[in-house]
């Protein structure tokens, strides 16, 4: 069962009415099939209309939807033969970032991404997708391994941000993020990143400093959460929607700003309404980007990635 977001209330009400009618129809000989079909058509149109003009703040909510597909769903639906590789060899295993060897339409790759968890137990296990230094250091280890064995790197970014906690600071959260970004930039193999949910600040950049950066249609990517910007810049928690608009956090805005290279379309009503369809579209888009980088020599790959970021902010 789909859980509805606040702004989907009219659709939720219509869906409830349809369910009610179905239940009534089942127990009687009334022919209300035509009525149900009419309402279903109306509901589909409302969903299409709503999702065609989501505000940046609404997109933020879709990007954080509790049923939105995550790394583990994409591993199941978009990749094959996944071999997870654990640990940073320095401190521990951080389940907020998962990585390993995988195949994408037959192509051998290294895939790394944030995992937020699906229910209370797994959310705690994955620390809600908020990685600690050991998560970033594991990512560095896997990127270096990929570089060594000539495997392209694919990352799936989905985090509210790196974990803000005492132990994370103690073990060098800032250094781990900086080194992970540096590792992305030093890769001797192609790297493609996709923001699949939330691209939360430094915790996202650390595994998103790629040759090509894609975003799912309703994902968001920002320097600080809209709530954080609201409390710091407006000095009130109530301006998150304004902050989301002002900061330009949507895939469409970021494509205009040339910060990302492409948008992967989501099914009507968002990725959570059709995880398999979303995964297919994501796999196709990643495959196209990797194919476009085939045959380029190492120096060219490194230089293109460097120039991509040097160009941001230059006149």
């Amino acid at each position: 069962m789909t859980s509805f977001l606040d702004f989907e209330k009219p659709i939720a009400e219509l869906e409830a009415r349809i369910a009610e009618l179905r239940a009534t129809a089942d127990g009687s000989d009334l022919d209300i099939g035509a009525e149900i079909a009419k309402l279903e058509k109306k509901s589909a149109a409302m969903l299409t209309g709503t999702y065609a003009k989501l505000s940046p703040w609404q997109k933020t909510q879709v990007a954080r939807h509790p049923q939105r597909p995550h790394f583990v769903d994409y591993i199941r639906l978009a990749f094959n033969d996944f071999v997870p590789l654990g640990g940073d060899r320095l401190y521990g295993e951080d389940a907020a970032i998962i990585g390993g060897l995988a195949k994408l339409d037959g192509r051998k790759i290294m895939v790394i991404g944030h995992e937020k968890g699906q229910d209370t137990a797994s959310r705690i296990k994955h620390n809600f997708g908020m990685a600690k230094p050991e998560g970033y250091r594991k990512a560095i280890r896997l990127m270096e391994m990929a570089s060594k064995f000539g495997l392209p790197v694919v990352t799936l970014v989905d985090t509210a941000g790196a974990f803000p906690g005492v132990e994370a600071e103690e073990r060098g959260q800032a250094e781990a993020i900086a080194r992970s970004t540096e590792a992305c930039l030093g890769l001797q193999v192609p790297m493609v990143a996709a923001i699949v949910g939330e691209g939360g600040s430094g915790g996202a950049v650390a595994i998103a400093s790629a040759n090509r950066v894609l975003m799912l249609e309703h994902s968001v990517y920002s320097v600080i959460s809209p709530e954080g910007a609201s409390s710091i810049l407006w000095r009130t928690p109530d301006k998150a929607a304004d902050a989301a608009t002002a900061m330009k956090v949507t895939a469409q805005d970021l494509l205009d700003l040339a910060v990302i290279d492409g948008i992967v379309p989501e099914p009507v009503g968002g990725a959570h309404r059709d995880p398999a369809g979303t995964a297919r579209a994501l796999a196709d888009a990643l495959g196209r980007e990797l194919a476009a980088l085939d045959g380029k020599d190492t120096a060219e790959i490194v230089r293109q990635r460097e120039e991509r970021f040097l160009a941001i902010g230059a006149l």
């Binding site: 900086a178 600040s201 902010g313 006149l315």
Partner: protein, 295 residues
């Protein structure tokens, strides 16, 4: 060996500053009056503002290191005769951002009260005779925050160091990324890291001096990538803000949390160095790390 870098710099500082100030009557009025008292923000001792400034803005009682700007840093760390490099131009207010005020108005106000056009300024000079480019972030300019101008200045400073075949030294100070530039400020993290990688590829030293405060995206990029990491005593250095951490863990933060000495104890910096010793420390390090004498 010259007299302590201290006295010499003090003299240099006074000579050109007073020259400029005397030629501008309005500025001369803003010169710190002899009788102005201030309270040390750390130990609350009353100090003569003049004495505090003459002591490199370090409290003589508790050694609290006050925040200082780019000019004072250049005078402190570079030999006399350095050249301040021009700050590269970047698109202004690229998102047309406004919160309670327009970002372009905030920028204008910051420029009116600061000597340089944005939060990071570079100078080319020598440190005890050894050539270096020194970048300084000024917390007074919008909290030292990293936007496109800071990123571009950092890259320009590093490129100049590569062209001059000398090291790059950066004094960091920032609350983090400049939120008013949204994602474009975040993208300065990889951008500046491209520069540090190029400096490393050229075999040139990169030395970071972490000053109070250095937090957020600045810490999580170029501020943590130095060949040598130096911190000023007591400087707040971290990734996440203390309030955010407090809200996450809902317990008291450890004593000295995210202070320079705490970072040293946790292996994140090579040394904690008193402001008066920074210049000789830099000179010693550059002496070891520079491949050949450059002057």
């Amino acid at each position: 060996m010259q007299t302590g870098p201290f006295n010499e710099i003090g003299t240099h500082h006074m000579s050109w500053l007073s020259k400029v100030r005397n030629s501008l009557s309005s500025l001369a009025k803003r010169d710190t009056p002899d009788n102005l008292w201030m309270k040390c923000p750390s130990c609350s001792q009353m100090l003569f503002a003049k004495d505090f400034e003459a002591n490199l803005s370090v409290c003589p009682h508790c050694q609290h290191h006050g925040r200082i700007g780019a000019e004072a840093r250049f005078d402190l760390l570079l030999d006399a005769g350095y050249t301040v490099l021009s700050t590269p131009k970047v698109p202004e207010n690229p998102l047309g951002f406004r919160d309670t005020k327009k970002y372009s108005d905030r920028l204008r106000a910051a420029r009116a009260s600061n000597p340089y056009p944005d939060a990071l300024t570079n100078a080319l000079g020598t440190i005890e005779g050894m050539k270096a480019v020194l970048g300084v972030q000024d917390f007074k300019f919008m909290g030292g925050s990293m936007g496109m101008a800071v990123g571009e200045a950092f890259v320009a400073g590093v490129e100049r160091a590569i062209a001059e075949k000398c090291g790059y030294v950066i004094c960091t100070a920032a609350g983090g990324a400049r939120m008013q530039e949204g994602i474009l400020s975040l993208m300065q993290m990889p951008k500046t890291t491209v520069a540090t990688r190029r400096l490393a590829a050229a075999g040139l030293p990169y030395i970071v001096i972490l000053t109070d405060p250095t937090t957020g995206g600045v810490t999580a990029s170029y501020a943590m990538l130095g060949d040598v990491q130096i911190a000023e005593p007591g400087a707040l250095i971290g990734f996440a803000g203390q309030r955010v951490i407090q809200d996450t863990i809902r317990e008291k933060l450890p004593d000295g949390f995210q202070r320079a000495e705490y970072l040293y104890d946790h292996g994140m910096v090579d040394m904690v160095v008193h402001r008066k010793d920074l210049k000789t420390t830099l000179a010693t390090l550059l002496g070891y790390l520079n491949r050949k004498e450059v002057a």
